[in-house]
């Protein structure tokens, strides 16, 4: 009944589910603690800088569809958008959110509206002005964002989500106008470009932790803890596998292939 070659993968998947759901339940009783993520700790500083300079903050969640494989990254970016919007609303800073996927717009509108309401500044929110659907085409979107950078000169640029070739265009343009930048993506192709130019960087699954780190929501925190348990299992398998293979035993390799 089980497809040969996928038995171990099925077992690992079930184990991960158990760990993630279990960790989510345990987090309701006691929140797990996170290590310091300096990029996220710098968000109040970035918003404060924008308030002092009386310039807006630009936010983008990059390219990505809610139905695609990069959806987790897009959702992570939206989670941070809510936090940044609330913080910016408290300081009276305008947040400009550039949208690539039209289907994200109603979600972003709801998210930012609620953030402004939590900050007690519901009247300050202007969806038409702040949430801008630019284009569903990669480079049309990229050049439109560059146009926003050149015209409106945001003091801070926050990029969290799935980014493709336009990442270098964004980071270089905002670097040139003197904006402080926080970038985060789990798409390994673009991390080097952000690393070279941006002030703060979230690498890989740090963006998934971002929503939990900022909101302290037990579901999200527990989910991150469950992922970390998965990583520990992966580490153990790698370590034992290296030792076993070095000793001439294919036991771990055969286990992974079952």
């Amino acid at each position: 009944m089980l497809v040969s070659g996928r038995i171990f993968a099925l077992g690992m998947l079930i184990a991960l589910w158990i760990f993630i759901v279990g960790a989510m339940e345990m987090a309701k009783k006691k929140l797990p603690t996170f290590r310091k993520l300096s990029g996220l700790d710098a968000l109040p500083e970035m918003v404060g800088r924008a308030a002092e300079m009386n310039r807006p903050i630009h936010y983008t969640t990059g390219l990505g569809e809610l139905t695609g494989t990069v959806a987790p990254q897009l959702v992570a970016g939206l989670a941070v958008l809510g936090y940044v919007s609330e913080l910016a609303a408290k300081y009276g800073v305008k947040v400009i959110y550039s949208v690539y996927q039209a289907q994200v717009m109603p979600i972003a509108t709801e998210l930012m509206k609620e953030a402004y309401m939590r900050a007690g500044k519901a009247d300050a929110f202007n969806a038409e002005e702040q949430i801008r659907y630019l284009s569903g085409e990669q480079f049309a979107y990229a050049t439109a964002v560059q146009g926003i950078a050149e015209r409106e000169r945001p003091a801070a640029n926050i990029m969290i989500g799935p980014f493709y070739a336009e990442s270098m265009m964004f980071s270089e343009t905002f670097f040139r106008i003197g904006a402080i930048q926080l970038a985060g993506t789990a798409r390994g192709y673009q991390i080097p470009f952000f690393a070279v130019v941006c002030d703060y960087l979230l690498i890989g699954e740090e963006i998934y932790a971002a929503g939990a780190y900022l909101s302290k929501d037990p579901v999200q925190c527990g989910s991150i803890q469950g992922q970390d348990i998965g990583k520990v299992i992966g580490w153990i398998l790698m370590f034992v596998g290296v030792l076993a293979t070095a000793a001439g035993s294919p036991i771990i390799i055969n286990l992974l292939k079952t």
Binding site: L2, V3, L66, G226
Partner: protein, 206 residues
């Protein structure tokens, strides 16, 4: 959502007759939905830009007219001659392809200024990044690789050992994140899609 996800997973891991055709149908529905989002994007563009035109948004409305004209012309040519017609191909090559390749190529210029201004050996980590980047740059210049052959095994080691290891770590982390999001979505505890930050907010609290 839960049922659809479990069905696809069951078909992948277990040999149960009947799940195959059901999964094929689900996948075809997914393809159709994705195709619809393309049209949705075009509708959204129309809505957005007609609003700019009607409100005469300063600095924007002439470009909005232009984009709508281009959308209509492209659509008319495509429908009239077919997506594989000669005229449509000519139109595509002359406009979209030329612009797309140009903007993509501009990345080279951005990278150049990025390398000149930002790639500084400010500390140990930055210096390491600089050295590794320089080796990769020289290796990927074909003639240099011939003239300075030592660069080939150096770059090969850097690619095979530290780079691949780091990328594997990032991939594993990203994959676990995707699994976690999948689990939360399947059991209905993912709030990001609803535009709320926390489960408490989803239940109507603050």
């Amino acid at each position: 959502m839960f049922v659809a996800a479990v069905l696809v997973m069951v078909d992948y891991f277990l040999k149960i007759p009947g799940t195959g055709p059901a999964v094929v149908q689900l996948q075809n529905w997914g393809i159709i939905l994705t195709a619809f989002t393309l049209g949705f994007g075009a509708v959204n563009l129309f809505y957005l830009h007609t609003r700019h035109i009607s409100r005469r948004t300063p600095g924007q409305w002439p470009f909005s007219i232009w984009i709508l004209v281009m959308i209509v012309v492209t659509a008319v040519i495509g429908v009239a001659t077919g997506a594989t017609g000669k005229q449509y191909s000519w139109w595509y090559n002359s406009t979209y392809f030329a612009l797309s390749a140009t903007v993509y190529s501009s990345l080279g210029f951005y990278m150049t200024t990025g390398c000149y201004r930002a790639l500084r050996a400010r500390n140990v980590e930055a210096a390491l990044l600089l050295v590794v980047g320089a080796i990769a740059l020289l290796r990927n210049a074909p003639a240099i690789a011939v003239g300075v052959p030592i660069i080939i095994p150096m770059e090969a080691w850097l690619s095979a050992v530290p780079t691949t290891s780091a990328q594997r770590g990032i991939m594993i982390g990203a994959a676990l994140g995707a699994i976690a999001l999948g689990v939360r979505t399947m059991i209905g505890r993912e709030t990001g899609f609803l535009g709320r930050l926390t489960e408490a907010e989803r239940r109507g609290g603050t």
